[in-house]
Symmetry: D2
């Protein structure tokens, strides 16, 4: 008996078999299938169908018996899928068709009515928005947890005097808490961006159908309400074309990832033998398969690297959408690959980062090096009436001399200092040295203990 | 007389000449200089300095005479620069130093006091935020203008029945206004994103100094107020490191650019000889240097291409910041190249796009092709009690038959239709044909005239 | 009985347990693990270990018995893994450690000697190069198959006269074969780029150890030879840091993907109802879940979209490596995600694309529209001594007039033509009309049948 | 007198004024114009026109007198443009039209014949290829200069014993020359990639016309020969669509930029106060406007940042081309922005980098820290018959103990060592310490003096 041509095999499984006669071969089926990715949406797909079915019943498009069957069928399937017991044949292409086909198998004609007034185009838009809403919430929770870890460390060890760096050269001294709260600021903007994105995520597209709505009397306000959306989309064409909300989520992830990469870079450098400003807990390090002495900050390096992954997903998603004619095109099938990957990476990273912060050991830094007090000396001269730009030049020369003698500024005798400026008095020594500098910070937001206390109060109020 | 080594030339011009002894050669100076780009910030730099000087005076760090000189000097320089009469020597590196050096040249020691309690690190952050605030406002205004052009066209020609496309194949018919308002929706989200970004732009970094503030008694609230900022930054390290606001602006531009690329793609295709749905005004087309018959939609193609430019700037800026240790690093000098380019492209495009919309000619489409009424026929069967999935299959076969006979659905005799389903009655002809379909749309947001009227009312309320 | 702290669990499984005392929790283990991705390298990892072991034996670093055990063990494991019967516990992190740990479990101390003179740093570099070499070969084979499909179509239907487009407006007529061979040219460059990349892939890093080689007497030339590498790396630091070969592969994939996206865009447009230049086989189309009339070019849309995926991977990989200090850093663990994804997408697409080409139906185009002969008319005038720029202007006006009258150029009476230029004689009609134009192409590489024959001969010679 | 509508102004200046009647307003003209960018191509444009004109004469399409006029005109214009004395009115859009219009103005009808058998589509492709060929050569020369600077330093200071790092933690000791030559390897691959790209750049597109060639008897081999191209393009459609060569150039620049970013990162870290491994010459550093003590590695930071710029250009160019239908579309006008920017950045950076290398001061590192000899100790144990994995575990414990006692391995008494393994004898001290380790490297490519000598010999042979 002859084999069927592969293109003729597996007929009639597709929702649209009426129109087309040949079937795809397996490579084509693999390309067309998004099941490997969109299966993750199954909970959202079922939730959407339950709301849609209830509305259809309320509008008289389903009988009470139909609705009961659909509900029973979908709820049973929830259990099957959760238990990994529902087959997902790749020729069904996507999670929507897997679920509809199984529903029809289980409950017959009632299942065939579920897609009334609906298209996969608005259905996938709905599933993605439900997913994205949860993703934004999960990421926000993860961000807050990480912020709290930094804040707790800022409280516990905040008063250690620590160098800051610009250009990786020592700049001014600050209290450590101030340095740690810089990361909390970054994270706060990430949380705010997610909150802003969430507003635009939280719009119900259901009822837009394939592109233009439907001639059937459906109630869009009702499905939106059942699914917890405060509003539904105003224009059906836009509703099925719009993937801004995923791009915005990818951007929020990218910015977050970039922030985390800066923190990771800082702490990788700080935990080098040469900087020695902190030591990571062994649980977040690995060693080498060849070099037995190594203790490497691998988790931080992986976190740093994830920024590249998120930027890539963002670039990819925007490029995917670029120049796509309205409305839906199949290119958009890959939107999920980008968005799921970006969100997944950030969730993974946020699950690890707080532990790194909570278990780090701060090592008391040597503050004698780096002339951390040089600008304070210039500002001392300003207090004595020297124009700042002139004072800056004077101190530049004092530093150059101190460097040649390998001395700290506070170790220079008053005569030496006075050779550079007559305005310098012996009170200058109360301005020199990192400790003195940190005490003298004046404006809000500067690197002293007083300013730290204010910041901690703010975060207490905001994050509890 | 021997030439000086180039590295020894041009001494003493830099703000920081006290510390370093050698000078850069010309290639190095070119690399270090950002003047070619940041000169564009001069108005913001002067505005910031005026506010800073006034605050310094109020805090007693300048005399009244100093302030008067600084003001006079800066205001005179505003005129010089606006007139293109201020030299900008590349060895001064950036606009801040050009302005400070010239001020010192003009007013002497008072000028040397201007940088009191300030660093280029917080100064450039300030300039960029002032620029970005204006950029967001300009872009928003441009978006609104474009939205209004679409809305005006939707009012004027909105009732023309027009095909929609998914996968570039005809889908459902709609009133043209509905298709046009899809672009307005996209643009509205762009405007909202800019408004959200603006909140995070609108924070005054001045007073953060180089990285840790200052030991001098400056009043950050006052400078913020003078410059129209509702708040100032909470953490000095973050304040000089943060470029989120530029990345967010680049993202908003990218999303906008992607939207415009979709519109451009649509209209390029629609204006092809084959689609023939619209014709662009000659003013927005060019011809060919070789082929005399050509009328090409070049402006739309350029608009489409700018999406690549914006995505590139966004990718570049995020990559620039990736893994940068805190706080300021010179890599950030190039932040402006990315942000200025993205914003500049979008301003340029928004200056042209409304004209394209205002002058377009809509050509009455032939709606007989493409079976735009097929789904309506399936929904007709749903009304007769056929489950949608079954109805979909029936209509698929009807379409296949009509296609073989090269007939529209409405041209099929009732007997042919009834061979496929006994449920079809002669009332079906009131459901077939694009015009009938458009009349029957039911839910809000669908493609009919009633729904268009609702949308237009919304935009009237929102945009006036 | 109390549970152990998760950080204390699963001790002693890591290769490097001597140095560090705490263990990672499960989120950290998940972050550290690359097994989900690098398990795909198992064949290459085992092949590399077999070669390494043989060399170690030849250098006296293993006994004959050790080698025999290692070989037996690794070969048995090949079967286990191929059959999916080897557990891959995530706490072992990567495929190297899974294999080494299992080998030790199976053959004891001989297994503990396998890592002599080797590090995971050179081992993963080796595995990736072996993989990349195969990837380049597989992609090249796929490209050739696709080229041949285009060439076969160019032979079969090459003489159909077809419009070309610039700016999506009709330009000149050509024989269809010429239009098809443009894609073959693009693909040829892709194949050449892969061949160039392969030279730089094909270098053996083994022996570079962790970063500086080893103090043990290993023979790098021997392992290179055993693994089919014509050369080994010259510098150990570079050998473990270098991921250029993956970036180059990603670039080759991106360029290929962009080429395919242009072809896909062409054929999506050509298969629209409006253009109607070709029809795709049903096997490569899908329909709609809602709209029963639809036949959508989904496979081409997915192919088009994969360009975004490849560009994203390239961007991501370059960004990952950006600013990484030498030599190995754990960020590089994610190199595989980018490279595997890009190569995987292109292999998938190349498995489908030839079928689309082989089964397409070309539809005879209507060539009366679009003034495809306008430039030929200008060149006719050049033949009569009119300067080209002048002739271009004359024909521009003739076209404008013909358009107003809705006539083709060949339909204009001679009097009308002569009103525009006295140089036009009745012989002009042998120059007008797409067929006449195509016959008159002169230089090599132009769009006529003669030029097509030359191109086909070239490809015959090159690809067989 | 009424003003003309801006769209009606400036008529008749365009090459194609015959066809279209309205004119663009100034915003539209600015969008359409590429003169701000493509003016840089003027030399190439004139060179191409000279070759084209000569061929036209040889084919009888120009008279000798025409050719003489065209030559005289173009050569005079070369001088005008070089002297900045040729107006470039934006309404002429591009450099091709500026030159042709001026030529016509200067020499009349002969100028009107220059565009015979040519289109801007093949003309710009030609100009870009001529430019790209020079760009590849310039970049290659810059790379070689930088390689030589590293090699000279490797010769001069190559024997200093230097730490290597993996994960920014100390790994093995090497001779400094070995560490420096790692950068030379990277750069060599960059040069090779440019050479490969050059093959694909070096193809003459002239004669492809707008898209399909021409009906006039032009000689493509002749123009190719006159312009130094070894071959001309085989397919006219591909010839005007292809921008691979620019993308490949952008990729080569990106990879180079990423390499330079890694070097910059290394040296920024090495020149920090904490690492103190090297000191940059003042000429390549700047200080701070506020902090007088700073000496920052600004040039290296800018070099590091340029990697983001290049990656952005590459991403942008690929995204620009993505899904463009064949053949030419105006989107491609922006190809130059990406390519010029990427090449320009790399040329700028390569002009500075060699000076940084030539003037750097190497500071003798303290090698006592970091257990650089730990793996050598494990390999010592291998020599005593201990399986490597076992030896690795033993040394891990020895290092942990040494760390607790804050001792180097060589400072541990033999009894301590022997407690960990009986195999350790007193000969172990000849294996411990960085100096001993470096002496013992065995395989080619490892970090010792012997291997360095081999590498230097190789580079001497290759680069002279």
């Amino acid at each position: 008996m002859p084999h069927k041509h592969p293109m003729e095999a597996r007929k009639h499984v597709k929702s649209w078999h009426g129109r087309l006669t040949a079937q795809a071969d397996s490579a084509t089926e693999a390309l067309l299938a998004s099941l490997d990715v969109d299966a993750a949406l199954w909970r959202y797909d079922i939730a959407g169908s339950l709301a849609h079915a209830q509305m259809l019943r309320e509008e008289g498009l389903l009988t009470a018996a139909d609705l009961a069957k659909i509900r029973r069928g979908l709820r049973a399937m929830e259990k099957s899928i959760a238990a990994g017991r529902l087959a997902m044949p790749v020729e069904l292409e996507d999670i929507h068709m897997v679920i509809e086909a199984e529903l029809v198998r289980r409950v017959g004609d009632a299942g065939r009515k579920l897609h009334t007034g609906r298209s996969r185009n608005d259905q996938i838009a709905l599933d993605l928005r439900l997913w994205a809403r949860d993703a934004a919430d999960d990421l926000t929770a993860g961000i807050v947890t990480l912020q709290k870890a930094f804040i707790a460390l800022a409280k516990a060890r905040g008063d250690v005097i620590f160098p800051t760096y610009t250009h990786l050269q020592r700049a001014w001294p600050v209290v450590l808490g101030h340095a740690l709260l810089a990361y909390v600021e970054m994270l706060q903007r990430d949380a705010e961006r997610l909150a802003d994105a969430r507003k635009r995520i939280n719009v119900c597209p259901l009822g837009a159908g394939a592109v233009a709505g439907t001639t059937l009397p459906i109630d869009r306000a009702r499905t939106a309400e059942l699914l917890g959306f405060p509003q539904f989309s105003r224009n059906s064409i836009d509703a099925v074309s719009d993937r801004d909300f995923l791009a915005e989520l990818c951007f929020a992830c990218s910015m977050l990832a970039v922030h985390l990469s800066r923190w990771a870079e800082d702490w990788i450098i700080y935990s080098s033998g040469e900087f020695g400003l902190l030591e990571l807990h062994d649980a977040f390090c690995t060693s080498s398969s060849m070099m037995p002495q190594k203790k490497n900050a691998d988790t931080l390096e992986l976190i740093r690297g994830k920024s590249a992954g998120c930027i890539a997903q963002l670039t990819g998603l925007l490029t995917l959408i670029k120049a796509l004619p309205l409305a839906y095109n199949r290119d958009l099938q890959d939107d999920k690959r980008f968005a799921f990957e970006a969100v997944g990476m950030m969730k993974q990273v946020l699950a690890v980062a707080p532990g790194i912060v909570r278990t780090v050991t701060i090592k008391p830094p040597d503050l004698a090096d780096g002339y951390l007090d040089a600008t304070a000396l210039a500002e001392y001269l300003v207090g004595k009436g020297v124009p700042f730009r002139t004072a800056h030049g004077i101190v530049g020369k004092i530093v150059a001399q101190a460097e040649r003698q390998d001395l700290a500024l506070a170790d220079l005798p008053i005569e030496t200092l006075q050779k550079h400026s007559k305005k310098i008095g012996t009170d200058v020594y109360r301005h020199l040295g990192a400790k003195n500098v940190v005490k003298r910070y004046r404006p809000d937001g500067a690197g002293g203990a007083k300013q730290l206390a204010l910041q901690l109060r703010h975060w207490k109020r905001l994050l509890g």
